[in-house]
């Protein structure tokens, strides 16, 4: 186990009318490899904001986030997103006019994945997540929500980065599919990935190794 991501004295505010509202206050946490983390909290507690900051989608205002002891500010947000983290969203965020396989290959191209045959590799990753070749060749809007989420996970797995961040990954799925997706995440953690899931689902959270709860902008460990 190694300390992968460290959040240090993190504050984050946003404009609420004419006032600045603090969403996150003095957050200090560490994420390690090989663990499944769940970040829970009520709606508007700031858990998605934390995920945005951890994934480099939003920039740090105050405090610092480091990846292997290097500030992501210094790494550069685009490089950080490209090389060090993969994000899975509740609404999948796939490119609609592309097929499942094209979405996965696009991620491989952007993240400069070097494999002899990208298409074969993409089929293989999708196959491992339960997406057969026929489904992989269909446009993403023509496959089910569960399948789309699997494609989104496949896209996150094309690059061998150590961090996988997921924002309510099962929010749009039925219970059976949710269990299958959770199993995938648990498996990824077992394989040495640092998996951080932001969720309000107790069913998801209970499978986590560590649960952080955000309340009124502060974070505390709920389960260790």
């Amino acid at each position: 186990m190694e300390n992968l991501i460290e959040v240090k004295n993190l504050y984050h505010r946003y404009e609420d009318g004419q006032k600045m509202r603090a969403v996150l206050k003095d957050i200090n946490i560490t994420f390690e490899t090989g663990k499944l983390y769940a970040v829970v909290g009520s709606s508007g507690s700031g858990k998605t904001t934390l995920l945005s900051l951890l994934s480099g989608l939003d920039s740090v205002q105050d405090g610092d986030i480091t990846y292997l002891d290097e500030s992501i500010n210094d790494i550069g947000y685009t490089k950080y997103r490209k090389e060090f983290v993969n994000v899975i969203f509740q609404s999948y965020n796939l490119i609609n006019y592309m097929t499942a396989i094209q979405n996965v290959i696009t991620a491989m191209d952007i993240k400069k994945v070097k494999v002899p045959n990208k298409k074969e590799k993409a089929y293989e990753i999708l196959e491992n997540l339960g997406i057969d070749k026929e489904t992989a060749d269909r446009e993403v809007l023509k496959i089910s929500g569960g399948e789309q989420q699997r494609v989104a996970i496949a896209r996150a797995l094309v690059h061998n980065s150590k961090v996988i961040l997921a924002d309510e990954p099962t929010g749009n799925l039925d219970d059976d599919t949710e269990d299958e997706i959770i199993d995938i995440f648990k498996d990824l953690a077992l394989k040495g990935k640092c998996v951080i899931i932001v969720t309000h689902s107790q069913n998801v959270a209970k499978h986590a190794d560590i649960i952080y709860e955000i309340k009124k902008g502060k974070i505390k460990i709920k389960k260790d």
Partner: protein, 464 residues
């Protein structure tokens, strides 16, 4: 990036068709404008070649004509000769010789026109008989070589009789007069006559060496003007006028013969650059024949330029707006790509490649259609311009000017070039590709700046 562009072009058929149609229209208009322009330039070059390699430097009389017209309107009479002469800038021999040193000039001929008084013979009146009332109306043209004058050239109306000889260079005391003038005064080749200037000074005697007839010119020019015109060596004409031809003198026209008709524009440009009298407009190169026959072509060429500029500007504006609108539709896709770590510049490049891919198809299709479209547009334009030019009345000076003898006469029937061979050449296509690429790059520039403002978190959270 290229693969993504290709998928986007193939999958977003509606957008691709709209862009392809727009680019197809742009390509056709650009190709048509360029090929029509090329065709007009080629036709104008042909006109240049057909008119020969000579051009004449004269005093600019355009302002003078305006002045005379307004003077006539106000006072009902012409201004005095002195007043007219004061308004004209004569050509100094210094300038004329300097211009003759141009690398384009192979030969030149100067001439000087002045009014003189007949001594020992009488001028003719307007019905071709002796004029006893006014002996003060002999128009003298002094020149190095009369054969090189417009009047005696291939398209000139004057013809020397068989027994005539001419003169050249430093010959002195010889004269060529009208056959009618000689007949009415019982003069023949070998006889002598004399001329003095308007003040009755500088009497000079001449031996008649040649006679000319000019029946064809009577219809357009007053008979007495032609019959009373005589041609003598330049140095004699300058002497009668009181000028010293061995030092600096002034002349009425300087005609230059160039190595190639297509160098006329370069020659004019060079001379204009080197001589303030020309750049200021006091002296001008008389290109009236070329200007007249190519007038419709010049209008078509100008129109093609305007259309080309308008098409390029409109294309950049329309494409820019279209791309910005497309970006709004594709904001979510951009957000996804940014969340995956794609560089903003690569996203801009992807959209540029998409446009270039569509443009390649549109421009290729345009090759097939542009020939017929540009041919049709070229024909319509030239027909309209020829019709417009034919209805216009063109006045041009004729009959000399140094002595204040200025008459406005119509140029006559002009044979306009009324056909151009418009066809899209490989060169036209290359220029169109260059312009098309410029249009696409320019219209992608502003949307690219727009992309740099996109934040993935904002895009994706608004979507979610």
């Amino acid at each position: 990036m290229f693969k993504r562009s290709w998928i986007s072009v193939i999958k977003n058929k509606g957008r691709t068709i709209i862009l392809a149609t727009l680019l197809f229209v742009i390509a056709n208009l650009v190709l048509s404008s360029i090929s029509i322009k090329s065709a007009t330039i080629e036709a104008m070059d042909q006109a240049r070649i057909s008119l020969g390699p000579e051009i004449t430097l004269t005093t600019n009389k355009t302002d003078l004509f305006d002045y005379i017209r307004s003077y006539r309107d106000e006072y009902g009479t012409r201004p005095s000769s002195e007043e007219i002469n004061n308004l004209l800038t004569p050509i100094s021999s210094e300038i004329a010789y300097e211009i003759a040193e141009s690398e384009y000039v192979t030969d030149f001929n100067f001439s000087f026109t002045t009014s003189t008084v007949a001594v020992g013979f009488l001028p003719l009146n307007d019905v071709g008989t002796l004029d006893y009332t006014n002996i003060n109306k002999i128009s003298v043209t002094g020149t190095y070589n009369p054969i090189l004058l417009d009047q005696f050239g291939d398209s000139g109306a004057y013809e020397l009789t068989l027994e005539s000889t001419s003169f050249s260079g430093s010959d002195q005391g010889v004269i060529i007069i009208s056959e009618t003038l000689a007949f009415q005064n019982d003069l023949v080749i070998g006889d002598t006559l004399s001329l003095v200037n308007q003040e009755g000074l500088n009497e000079t005697g001449f031996i008649i060496v040649g006679l000319f007839n000019s029946e064809d010119a009577f219809e357009t020019t007053g008979r007495n003007i032609i019959d009373n015109e005589v041609f003598i060596p330049l140095n004699d004409a300058l002497s009668i006028n009181g000028q010293d031809y061995t030092s600096n003198f002034t002349i009425t026209t300087a005609k230059y013969y160039l190595d190639d008709p297509l160098n006329i524009d370069l020659f004019v440009e060079e001379s204009t650059l080197n001589h303030e009298e020309i750049s200021s407009g006091a002296l001008t190169f008389n290109d009236v024949n070329y200007d007249a026959i190519t007038a419709p072509l010049q209008s078509v060429a100008s129109f093609s330029d305007i259309v080309l500029i308008a098409v390029v500007v409109a294309a950049v504006v329309i494409l820019t707006l279209l791309i910005i609108n497309t970006l709004k539709e594709r904001k979510y896709e951009i957000g996804v790509l940014l969340s995956l770590g794609e560089d903003k510049i690569k996203i801009s490049l992807q959209y540029l490649i998409e446009l270039l891919l569509i443009a390649t198809v549109a421009f290729t299709l345009a090759i097939a259609t542009s020939n017929s479209i540009s041919g049709y547009l070229g024909d319509v334009l030239i027909e309209n311009e020829v019709a417009d030019a034919s209805t216009e009345t063109t006045d041009t000076p004729k009959g000399g000017g140094g002595g204040g003898m200025i008459t406005l006469t119509p140029l006559g029937d002009v044979e306009y070039i009324d056909e151009i061979d418009v066809s899209v050449s490989f060169n036209d296509f290359l220029v169109t590709i260059a312009l098309g690429s410029m249009i696409i790059i320019l219209s992608s520039a502003i949307p690219s700046l727009y992309i740099t403002r996109f934040q993935p978190k904002k895009i994706l959270s608004s979507r979610n």
